[in-house]
């Protein structure tokens, strides 16, 4: 029953994405900043200038270090940049969800979960 304890206190959503997606999701009210001194945001704005290593670090933090995040939302084109990490992350918690962004239409072929679905059904 360790898993039960593990996700009982997961309440937040985290987001990694371009400015528009992050703004919209923050408007919906998912933004959370932990108390100082080590104020941690649960969102990361990615633009063309953002280093891939920074995205990787944020993804690792959201998925492995923070225990209060239940769902990680990540723009698909951002996920493309760290595809190897997203594909290797297979734990059920937190759930990693690839979402479409304004400029990049959603492509089901690239989604790591949908890829598994397709593979399972032998398509």
């Amino acid at each position: 029953m360790a898993a039960t304890v593990a996700y009982k206190d997961r309440q937040l959503l985290a987001v990694i994405g371009d400015e528009d997606s992050v703004t919209g999701l923050l408007l919906a009210g998912i933004g959370h900043v932990t108390n100082p001194p080590d104020a941690q945001r649960n969102f990361l704005v990615v633009d063309a200038k953002t280093e891939t290593s920074e995205i990787e670090r944020a993804f690792q933090t959201f998925t492995q270090e923070r225990k209060d995040i239940a769902v990680v939302l990540i723009n698909q084109h951002v996920a493309e940049r760290i595809r190897h990490i997203v594909d290797t992350f297979t734990d059920p918690f937190p759930a990693v969800l690839e979402i479409p962004s304004k400029d990049h239409p959603y492509d089901p072929e690239k989604d790591s979960v949908l890829k598994r679905v397709r593979r399972l059904f032998g398509e």
Partner: protein
């Protein structure tokens, strides 16, 4: 492969035969139960996969609408509100709660979204202009996030079920292809060994009785030979008087014997 599974290291006794038989029965029951579990999970799994597919399509539409409403906001506000929004985010208003659902012994989490009342980080956003658009945008995005949360719980269930189904199928296959054939092999082995022992025992008994018969036959032959010799002797030098005497002696002997019997009684 079933020929190479070998057998369990047991002594071929009746007791271990009984043990193996009950083990085989247990394995068969376990196999059918696990098979049923696997089927139930797979049914659930297929349903979830279908729903994921649907939800993904829906997510595409919903996010498109949400992005459009955000564009409306930036048009109405006349500038970028992204920075302001990011800075004013402090407490999550939109949260999720994990619930559990039990599918044939597997606990599947189900996220449920709820909004924390009394937290509003964006009270001042769009105060100048575009407040209405921002309000609408927030509602749209809240609905979009609800869809996303639903999708996330489906996805989590998908991952967990995938794992569990793999484990269950592995067990089913292990029982079907390793444990049951091996136990059957062991039972066969014990039976053949026991039969072998039976045959050995039978052969031994036969040998013993054969030996006894031979002994008896030999003894009979000896006695017969001795009698014949005696008869020949008598025929050579025997007189009727002597014979009569002998007969008398025999009869007295018999009487003596009877007397003895009475004494015993």
């Amino acid at each position: 492969m079933s020929g190479a599974v070998g057998r369990e290291p047991v002594f071929p006794t009746r007791q271990s035969l009984g043990l193996m038989k009950s083990k085989l029965k247990g394995a068969e029951i376990g196999h059918s139960l696990l098979k049923r579990k696997s089927e139930a999970l797979t049914k659930r799994f297929r349903e979830i996969t279908r729903r994921i597919d649907e939800a993904k399509q829906k997510m595409g539409r919903v996010m498109q609408i949400a992005a459009f409403s955000l564009a409306e906001v930036s048009y109405a506000v006349g500038g970028d509100i992204g920075y302001q929004v990011q800075e004013s985010a402090k407490q999550a208003r939109f949260r999720v709660r994990a619930k559990q659902e039990n599918v044939s012994g597997v606990l599947l989490p189900h996220f449920e979204s709820y909004t924390q009342e009394g937290v509003n980080d964006f009270a001042l956003t769009g105060l100048g202009k575009g407040g209405q658009q921002i309000q609408r945008c927030r509602e749209t995005y809240a609905r979009a996030v609800e869809t996303l949360v639903e999708l996330a719980s489906l996805q989590t269930a998908f991952l967990i079920l995938d794992e569990v189904i793999k484990v269950v199928n592995r067990r089913v296959n292990a029982i079907e292809h390793v444990i049951i054939p091996r136990t059957e092999n062991t039972i066969k082995y014990i039976n053949s060994e026991l039969d072998e022992l039976d045959r050995e025992e039978f052969y031994r008994l036969k040998k013993v009785s054969g030996k006894k018969q031979r002994d008896v036959a030999a003894a009979d032959a000896e006695i017969a030979a001795a009698r014949q010799k005696e008869a020949e002797k008598k025929a050579q030098a025997g007189t009727p008087a002597q014979e009569a005497k002998e007969e008398e002696a025999e009869s007295t002997d018999v009487l003596g014997e009877q007397e003895d019997n009475d004494v015993i009684f």
